[in-house]
Amino acid sequence: MDFLIPSTFAEALAIKAERPEVVPIAGGTDVMVELNFDHRRPTALLDLTRIAELTEWAPSENLLRVGAGVPYVRIIDELGDRLPGLAMASRTVGSPQIRNRGTVGGNLGAASPAGDTHPVLLACDAQVEVASVRGTRMIPAAEFYLGVKRNALEPDELIAAVHLAPAAAPQQFSKVGTRNAMVIAVCSFAVALHPEQGRVGAAVGSAAPTPRRALAAEEFLAGELSDAGLWESPKPLLDSVRRRFGELAAEAASPIDDVRGTAAYRRHALAVLARRTLGWAWQDYCGTGETRSQSCA
């Protein structure tokens, strides 16, 4: 097996164009497991860890551009205020060692339905910047996940970055595991409020062949919030609204029984997670700005 160590992204793209079968490796937290279990035997590994430009983040127009190689620990430490949902999801990944190595780019590359950051990327309307020697294109997160561990990358493409808007309103992420840490999600859920668009982003993880937006839940809630004028003058959400949002979020899933949990448990837990995360996010929203309301505290 060849181990290729490009020092620039251009060099990496040239290699990927010439040898599309090479497997990119960043933190290695997924790839190394597959190699150790002999689940795949690539002819070559393409080490992306020496490419400085992948490990940088910066504002880009109205968005933040987060390099594919920025590890979870830096998202937590450096971007927790601007990307709170992504930071919350990053905190639930593995152990400190895994968070030191693992990257959002790697999460996207592996495209596991259980990847912790995916629901946040979906709920926050993230764009995935992918590149090849042919050029660069942006793929909306909602169009990125094609199937179990399959994504929209062409064989010669590499993930360069993700682009997300800095949070203008509360975001939440929650995950159920089979123990309190160091676990793959049984199911997970992310919600992001987008008051400027009068809508809410919501997505489920580890409960379908791909991470998936909960569109019916999004539409229902957008309608409820707009009809009641709650964006402008926030008041606590009715229990019935939160509950219906939870039900619709659970309906977005098509879970299976596996070693981590049953389909029935996943549906139930997703409804609880959706209801709770929405409650937390909305409570935060009520508590901000001039419309602070005691009843929301």
Binding site: V33, D38, S95, V176, T178, R179, N180, A181, M182, V183, I184, V186, V259, G261, T262, A264, Y265, H268, A269, V272
Partner: protein, 722 residues
């Protein structure tokens, strides 16, 4: 001088362990070593029809591929070899994961590559892998080393008929695996007809014996070395086939061979805790006095071995009851042979302690009061004292520290926001057997002491505690004493399992050290150059490396002075057979349950034990921490999942088999009664396995208190609490 025994001294091997200086079996570097790998069966029952190794043998670097057709013939050792057969001797497959080929190559990667290229064809037969697969096939196995599989005392039927309240329920637990951090490793090095085995074993002497039997060689031609172990928990107590095969292959090839089991192979190669199911029926009079305890259990056995490991002595060893019936049935399944796993007495006790909690609610009686009402110190088998006399003190120590008296027994009576809070408790109990041990102590002319015993340190602190025992017996500072273990050239000791190491080994080490001290005193009083010349030996004490006359402490000599004038080291040996015993305690648990998700967090654990005299408060506490945290796994997460169709283990790794992580560990407090056991020269009882035996029951009882839900099938996963 304050005693060294009991002090919370840090581990003497701690620095070596955290700096990589401790050499484990797999770290052994032998010039010219070759690498072994096992290819294992993919069916659970049947026969090999063809096995083609052509591709494997063509892999560069491959030295040999042994199959059942080409493997040297070995003798199947008798019990305690637990397997009943040696693999690679015939075409029969007894379980999934059984070795079907042994590959040796220049590198590990070459060996693994070759093993993957072996083409095995089978005639497969239907396999049964769960108790539910074999209804009606349970049977009463013949008596084992612990005695008959059925125990009857009094008239249990009458006791139940006369009971004021009864509980009759079935409790179950799944297959568990030990998961020591260090996977098992063997390095076999032959020099002529002498074999050295660098082995990860909890018993070097048993390894020597079993390997000698399998290879038909004299035991004294084999030397086994185990200076360090990365945990065992029972998995390394017996000798398993991989060791026999490695020794045989190395002899055949005349090359040193190293075999390190993979984590996945550990799930089929080194035993497990059998799936267990028990019907527990308990009855009590109005005042809580037990009128009957009936425990009918069933557990998985293999097709090739029928020894029962999950044992029910807690049915008659903890609570005094005039009418007791315990019956240990087994059922043969197409799985690897089960074995003991910290603690084999746990599964039965978990059922009993959950049943007593249920009974306490039937009676409207506090669970602690129910236990105090019934605990016993008399063994109904022989009328002799058990050694439980301090169990009431344990219940008080831990209960008071926990704040048990403030508990409202009503389920769902405590909450914090969304979370339900529950408090539960259970008695903990474990027996320890008698094991002979011998030790050797030498005091050198530089005044330093060296102690040796063929025991093991499985990570519990044997090095440290025996250094303390030696230093205290000699009257030397700890840094003048070195303790060595893990070498069959040293005086023999038993296995480091069944909670017996400290109780057994401390006796021989103490005796050898005292004999060496006495020999030095004898030299001193006979030595005209010694200030102690002519003194009566019994008037001399030893402290800090010096010898004093008690009547006149200005007359003193030193070990270094006496032995250097003597001109050569002073040696002594000691042998000891400990008295078997029973160790009890109690654990109190707080849980917080999220009723919407079914998530349980164990937030507080308080436990107290009577372990005789505490040898080292730090290492003793560590035993409690390990047992408590592992009990969390037992209660909530651990479960070896076996596919009913393929008989394969689905989660043979630490990602899928969920041992607790730091975030699952509660705040833990440990207390000890700390009264010397009179049968031990240093006051020690056996202890290792007691913490964990009741913890799963205490957690389950706490969950009942929190939620009103009684979950009798472990682990209590989130879906069961919805």
């Amino acid at each position: 001088m304050s005693p060294l025994i009991g002090r919370a001294v840090p581990r003497v091997d701690g620095h070596a362990k955290v700096t990589g200086g401790a050499r484990y079996a797999a770290d052994t570097h032998v010039p010219g070593v070759t690498y072994g790998t096992l290819a294992t069966s993919t069916i659970a029952r049947g026969t090999i029809t063809t096995i083609d190794t052509t591709l494997a043998q063509a892999v560069p670097g491959v030295i040999a591929v042994f199959t059942h057709l080409t493997m040297p013939r070995l003798v199947t050792p008798p019990s305690p070899y637990p397997k009943g057969f040696v693999p690679l001797q015939d075409a029969t497959i007894h379980h999934n994961g059984q070795p079907v080929a042994y590959v040796v190559a220049q590198t590990l990667e070459q060996a693994q590559e070759a093993a993957a290229l072996i083409d095995v064809r089978y005639h497969a037969e239907p396999a049964k892998v769960a108790i539910d697969d074999a209804p009606g096939e349970e049977f009463l196995p013949p008596p084992g080393p612990e005695g008959p599989q059925e125990f009857v005392h009094g008239d249990p039927a009458a006791g139940l008929a006369n009971a004021h309240k009864k509980v009759d329920a079935t409790y179950s637990s799944p297959v568990h695996h030990h998961n020591p951090i260090e996977t098992s490793a063997t390095v076999a090095v032959w020099d002529g007809d002498q074999l050295t085995l660098h082995e990860s074993t909890q018993s070097i002497s048993l390894t020597q014996q079993i390997v000698a039997q399998a290879l038909s060689v004299p035991q004294n031609t084999i030397r086994v070395l185990t200076p360090f172990l990365g945990g065992g928990f029972g998995s390394k107590a017996p000798v398993w086939p991989h060791t026999l095969l490695t020794a045989a292959v190395a002899r055949q090839l005349r090359k040193p061979v190293k075999l390190v089991l993979t984590r996945a192979q550990m799930y089929t190669s080194s035993g497990h805790r059998a799936e267990f199911r028990q019907q527990v029926t308990v009855g009590a009079a109005k005042d809580g006095t037990l009128t009957a305890i009936v425990n009918i259990s069933n557990q998985q056995l293999s097709r090739t071995e029928q020894r029962v490991f999950n044992t029910s002595e807690s049915s008659w060893m903890v609570y005094g009851c005039p009418n007791i019936h315990a019956k240990q049935l087994g059922v043969r399944l197409d799985l690897p042979t089960p074995h003991f796993m910290r603690s084999p007495e746990g599964p039965a006790l978990v059922g009993l302690e959950m049943a007593l909690d249920e009974l306490s609610y039937e009676l409207g009686m506090d669970p602690v009061a129910l236990r105090l009402k019934n605990y016993t110190d008399l063994n109904p088998e022989n009328g002799q004292k058990i050694g439980n006399q301090n169990l009431p003190e344990c219940l008080k120590l831990a209960g008071d520290a926990f704040g048990w008296s403030r508990r409202n027994p009503t389920p769902r009576s405590m909450r914090d926001g969304n979370e339900l809070i529950g408090w539960g408790m259970a008695t903990e109990a474990h027996s320890y057997h008698a094991r002979a041990s011998s030790a050797w102590v030498q005091i050198d002319t530089d005044g330093h002491a060296l102690a040796r015993c063929g025991t093991q340190d499985i990570g519990t602190g044997t090095y440290t505690v025996m250094t303390q025992v030696t230093a205290e017996a000699l009257g030397m500072p700890m840094n003048s004493v070195r303790f060595e273990l893990g070498d069959t050239n040293f005086p023999a000791a038993g296995f480091s399992a069944a909670s017996v190491t400290v109780s057994s080994v401390s006796g021989s080490v103490d005796k050898a050290a005292r004999a060496a001290r006495d020999a030095v005193i004898a030299l001193a009083v006979a030595d005209p150059h010694s200030p102690l010349h002519g003194a009566a030996p019994d008037r001399i004490v030893t402290e800090h490396g010096f010898l004093f006359l008690t009547d006149d402490r200005t007359r003193r000599d030193s070990y270094q002075g006496v032995v250097s004038r003597h001109g050569k080291p002073v040696e002594a040996t000691g042998s000891f057979l400990n008295v078997p015993g029973y160790t009890t305690g109690a654990s109190f648990i707080e849980v917080r349950v999220d009723p919407w998700l079914g998530r349980v967090r164990v937030t507080r654990a308080v436990a107290a034990y009577d372990i005789g005299r505490v040898m080292n408060h730090r290492t003793a506490r560590s035993q409690v921490l390990g047992g408590m945290i592992w009990g969390v796994g037992y209660a909530l997460t651990e479960h070896t999942m076996i596919d009913r169709h393929t008989a394969r283990i689905v989660n043979p790794n630490l990602s899928g088999y969920l041992v607790p992580v730091n975030a699952d560990a509660p705040k833990i407090e440990a207390f000890f009664v700390d009264k010397p056991d009179p049968t031990s020269p240093v006051g020690a009882k056996g202890f290792g396995e007691a913490p964990i035996t009741g913890v799963p029951a205490a957690i389950s009882n706490a969950i009942y208190h929190a939620t009103g839900r009684r979950i009798r099938d472990l682990p209590i996963t989130q879906d069961k609490l919805l």
